[in-house]
């Protein structure tokens, strides 16, 4: 179930990314503004960024992987 949810979320984000890349101006405002897309997008992505950044020693070097990232099939 979790895997299906992940794939659905990725599909939804891909669709939205493709839409925003191909429409602009008033149409984009009409399509996205009414749905508060910016707030929802930020709310969706911030926990994922936190999850990603937890795997890196960001301050000291920014390059060192903390856990063994190769063992994570989601990457």
């Amino acid at each position: 179930m979790a895997n299906i949810q992940t794939k659905t979320r990725v599909l939804a984000s891909s669709t939205l990314a493709a839409l925003t890349a191909n429409i602009s101006g008033d149409l984009l405002n009409t399509a996205l503004r009414s749905e508060k897309a910016l707030g929802k997008t930020i709310k969706a992505v911030l926990p994922e960024i936190t999850s990603l950044s937890d795997r890196f020693d960001l301050v000291e070097s920014g390059l060192v992987r903390v856990p063994d990232i190769r063992a994570d099939p989601s990457l």
């Binding site: 939205l16 890349a21 950044s53 063994d68 990232i69 990457l75």
Partner: protein, 180 residues
């Protein structure tokens, strides 16, 4: 956690704030909660994007993520920089919160130093020849970094002092010397 999910959402944020002044204004109200998070993403994505380049850092066995992950990360780096440049330009608080976050200047310097690798990954993502870095993308990466830092210096003169105090070896890239 999916790299592509983060990449797509950052692209959406980039597109929305570029197209919508109202959304840009809304986002300008929340620098403290969002700018550091996107900076963390930038640092992680630069690391992932250069992972297969054989550059210094990391163990040999850690440099073999899939090409798709590399390219997704490089595209996400561009989105992060565009968001920062856009927001820093209109909201001084964004610029201040971003550049006073620990690791920000190092992260931007790392983008400038690795811009050839990053643009090569972006070219791959766009189905261009993988071995050919697009000079347009290289130039855009560098311009975005300089735009972000310039906005910061205009907002906070202390940042200029911080930049001036950094040693040449720690920066190791011409753009920062040009800036000073």
């Amino acid at each position: 956690m999916e790299i592509s999910f983060i990449r797509n959402n950052l692209a959406v944020i980039d597109h929305i704030i570029t197209a919508s002044p109202q959304d840009r204004g809304d986002l300008a109200q929340h620098p403290a909660s969002i700018a550091p998070a996107i900076l963390q993403a930038l640092i992680a994505f630069v690391s992932i994007a250069r992972d297969n380049a054989g550059a210094a850092g990391g163990h040999e066995g850690e440099r073999h993520l899939s090409g798709k992950t590399d390219t997704s990360a490089a595209v996400a780096v561009m989105s992060c920089l565009r968001i920062f440049a856009n927001m820093s330009n209109i909201a001084p608080s964004w610029s201040r919160d971003l550049l006073t976050t620990e690791g920000s200047l190092t992260a931007l310097a790392r983008v400038a130093v690795n811009r050839t690798t990053l643009s090569s990954r972006i070219a791959t993502a766009q189905n261009k020849p993988a071995e050919t870095a697009d000079p347009t993308d290289e130039g855009e990466l560098l311009c975005l970094v300089l735009a972000i830092i310039t906005s910061g210096v205009l907002v906070d003169e202390n940042l200029a002092s911080v930049l001036a105090s950094l040693s040449e070896s720690s920066l190791a890239c011409m753009p920062f010397q040009m800036l000073l």
